[in-house]
Symmetry: C2
Subunit: 551 residues, 2 copies
């Protein structure tokens, strides 16, 4: 009897980012993508969010390989963390592997991990799976979809994609998707990022035209910021600069790294003599200079941020500079981006940003493009991925209008084991899955309790009450001493501080009268009285910590 194919989403459902999916058939397992997520605004102090790898470590002996669709952080960012826990070869295209290699170097893992490079059209055997690399358009070079041929049928995973008929590197391989559809696709797992948007995502070539227009009518210095990973965009900037007789300098570490990798791998052609050192731009006439910078998301301490706030070591913004923000703000970054734009305006720069048209296009397919992929693949089962709940639901509805039976649309949760046969699908058991927080070098040591405390501390600060009690008779030896941080401006609130001491003292005396001697009860009494007093008088609720020492 045929076994069931198990598809286990470990990231990327009910969230944007942190994409990761495991596929298991019998004693073979492969994983597609291994991305990071970025913390929500209430995940104080968290640097990154990675998937929970428990299921992988528990099934490490079955793991035949990891396949990566493209080199964006939300698809490769967790690889170093994962590879410290399990071991298997990683398969990607040249550009993707170039970026993974940078990441492994940073984590000193280069020698431990085997990276295998393929190109679109290749088919890679991994246990009982054959994984076919299919060219797709996306906002990073060398992105692929996978057709995963399994003993019970083919699963198509689009990865992130759009359909760009005028892409420099050729359109998404619709012909191959169509062939697969004609041969029969068991299940389609498809990018849902832009499913709320009607119509089509415009071509990347639109941006090249807009850049040309911005360069043409400008006699001042031009500074362009964009996503460092968008090599097609950077290629367009270089070509436009060259055409207009301008030299290009690059600032920002990720931009420099990316450019190096892309150049080495031949994904970018630099017109000879076009790139110069940042320092060299100072001796050039303004209308001969383009600076390509990081900071398109308003990141603190990015090159653009430092230029805007006058902390960049080499470049100062001067009145007249034309700054082109060739990106749109990712949800949550809007305020950071607009803070930089405000500073640039304050310095008299001329800022061209997303409100103006054609300076950025999305890398994800809109509704009409998604319909094309559905129409070509004609899958029996449909599993929307890469999206929050609303994206998944809307994509599910779109699939039914494209002919998938509604009972064959699977809106899953992380850790669900989706069990497929050639004819049926159901959600079976559930495995461990979720969010692991990275804070500094710590992985997983910050959890719900720590975050709750950080939130509490952030909201109203804290009060520490220190008391020394006699070991002999339980009488007060010193204190209560009260220290606060993040609560109130103490120098102007000495009256309140006196009151708090009195309230704490009274709580202790009450305990003493009632012959309450155990520290837990005394602490509870002090905390209770103080927080009641504070809420009544200030409507605030700082964290209260009582330290009682027996001396």
């Amino acid at each position: 009897m045929a076994q069931k194919l198990k598809i286990i989403p470990l990231g990327g459902l009910d969230e944007i980012g942190k994409n990761m999916t495991a596929l298991q058939y019998g004693k073979d397992m492969i994983v597609v993508d291994c991305g990071v997520g970025f913390p929500d605004e209430d995940m104080y102090g968290v640097d990154l969010v990675i998937p929970d790898f428990t299921f992988l470590t528990q099934n490490a002996q079955y793991l035949r390989g990891m396949f990566i669709t493209h080199g964006h952080e939300d698809h490769i960012g967790s690889i170093p963390y994962c590879m410290q826990q399990v071991s298997c070869p990683i398969h990607g295209t040249a550009m993707t592997n170039g970026l993974i290699r940078l990441k492994l170097e940073e984590h000193r893992l280069t020698n431990q991990v085997k990276l295998i490079t393929h190109k679109a059209g290749d088919v890679v055997r991994a246990g009982c799976f054959s994984v076919e690399f299919i060219h797709v358009n996306h906002s990073i070079a060398d992105a692929v979809a996978f057709a995963i041929h399994t003993p019970i049928g083919t699963v198509v995973m689009t990865g992130d994609f759009k359909i760009d008929p005028t892409a420099k590197d050729g359109m998404t391989d619709l012909a191959r998707l169509g062939e697969l559809g004609n041969q029969g696709v068991l299940a389609l797992m498809c990018d849902s990022t832009n499913v709320e948007r009607q119509g089509y995502t415009p071509s990347e070539s639109i941006v090249a035209e807009s850049l040309d227009k911005q360069f043409k009518n400008c006699s001042e210095r031009i500074i362009v910021t964009t996503f460092a990973s968008n090599m097609h965009r950077i290629q367009a900037i270089l070509a436009t600069a060259h055409r207009h007789g301008r030299k290009v300098a690059v600032t920002g570490r990720s931009m420099e790294n990316m450019l190096k990798v892309a150049q080495e791998l031949g994904y970018i052609k630099v017109p000879s003599g076009t790139i110069v050192d940042l320092g060299a731009t100072k001796s050039l006439p303004k209308n001969k200079v383009v600076i390509v910078s990081t900071g398109s998301q308003g990141e603190n301490m990015s090159a653009l941020y430092r230029m805007a706030f006058s902390t960049h070591k080499q470049i100062d913004i001067v009145a007249g500079d034309r700054i082109i923000i060739s990106a749109s703000a990712i949800p949550g970054n809007e305020k950071a981006v607009s803070r930089i734009i405000n500073e640039l305006y304050r310095k008299g720069a001329d800022v061209v940003y997303e409100k103006s048209e054609g300076l950025h296009v999305s890398g994800h397919a809109c509704q009409e493009e998604l319909k094309i992929v559905h129409a070509l693949c004609k899958p029996r089962f449909f599993i929307p991925v890469h999206g929050e709940q609303r994206h998944l639901q809307i994509h599910g509805r779109l699939a039914t209008t494209m002919g998938v039976a509604s009972k064959n649309v699977v809106i899953a949760e992380l850790g669900d084991v989706i069990e497929l046969t050639a004819k049926s699908c159901k959600i079976g058991e559930k495995v461990t899955a979720g969010k692991i927080f990275v804070d500094g070098t710590g992985v997983g040591d910050v959890g719900a309790v720590v975050l709750r405390d950080r939130k509490h501390l952030a909201q109203d600060g804290m009060i520490v009450v220190c008391v020394n009690i006699s070991a002999q008779d339980g009488g007060l030896v010193t204190g209560p001493d009260i220290i606060t941080r993040g609560f109130i401006y103490v120098k102007e609130s000495e009256g309140l501080m006196e009151e708090l001491r009195a309230v704490a003292l009274e709580a202790m005396e009450r305990c003493s009268r009632k012959r309450i001697r155990d520290f837990t009860s005394i602490k509870a009494a002090i905390k209770n009285d103080l927080s009641g007093y504070l809420y009544k008088n200030t409507k605030r609720n700082p964290m209260i910590l009582t330290v009682i020492t027996e001396v």
Copy 2:
């Protein structure tokens, strides 16, 4: 010799919200608007931001009156705080005063403040100023602009406005603005909120049509959320519901309050029998029910939030419910709104939101409307207001294309004293102005230091080190005891806690060897060693607080 007219922006420049402007001529001063701002995401624990009233309190004897353009929070929200510091009559239209009255009741200030009600067309004398009320369109009823006639000329302050030729209450009074322009406008102070947007803001009547479309093809329960203050919108919802034979119930405190005020003042006509109690909707067929709810900005604990997360006492979202979000997310609220949308989708609701067209229109003028006002007023001087730096700069450039000399465009900062004569303008001295934070019932007791500490606590939590030292010989009596909050999950980090104790102990012993006895130096040594150790081992930087007690 004629005196100078002084215009002193106290809020609303370089920021969105907290609008407030003082005008002074000789011994007379008036104030226009008195709004609140909302805290940025890094103002931890701050509830509201209000203007610094120092300049007003210092010049209280000159204050002849406060004039309010309309009843939005960013124009009236600081009135209770201001009226605890200075005293003067407040002039507004009926709807505006109705909303101010609610606010004064909440702060138990009703008896202390004199509210005087006027209507568009009225002219109010206040010292040497004559303030004329001019009807404008905005997303709240009864909004006005002011023409402030001063001894040296007329200043036009638009307040927030748009030009809506099909507004139910009549278009912005362009005729009067034109007359003023023909008579001569000394200075124009104009709303800059939408200056980045080309073209025109669509009419509110578009929304009524879109609502009708949404009601027409729906046989399920309809839940609409919008800004409680947008009475035109709520009127349209009521009328649409009535036309489609549906009853309307209201949920959410601000929505209930607003509706009460608007009904009492006749700003809303409820078709008889249309409004029912929320409880009564349960016994009605689904296609006879509309619920109007707060929560259009994703506010925690708003009615829509509670419905979405199943904590609303009376209403549960069920599959099929059509939820119409008739609002767009204010910058910064995007994630909160999308969190609610995701929950509604998860419950199987059909959510219609801003991505779909025509369910919301802005209340602010776009570029073409702004140009109309400039063309009508033909001011000698132009002072853009209500905007961040980029809005002010872009509006300044727009003014020059409309004929204002660039030297007559004044991009000011809060606290600048703009000195006008009939022929000249300059920025003179600077007065105290800025942001005062409201946290709970505290006003101004949270400042930069407290916020810096909250941010530090939020980022990495805190560590408290307690030590008791002998008063006789300075030897260690108890400790070091280490307590942490928001730093690390302690139960799984006992090794680290032991290390920290050892590091603190070693720091103390080093001090002892060096015969260092003063507490400040010992604390510094402990803090320094711990933070060095922590950064090296965890790349984190918690707040470290050392308490040394002599026993």
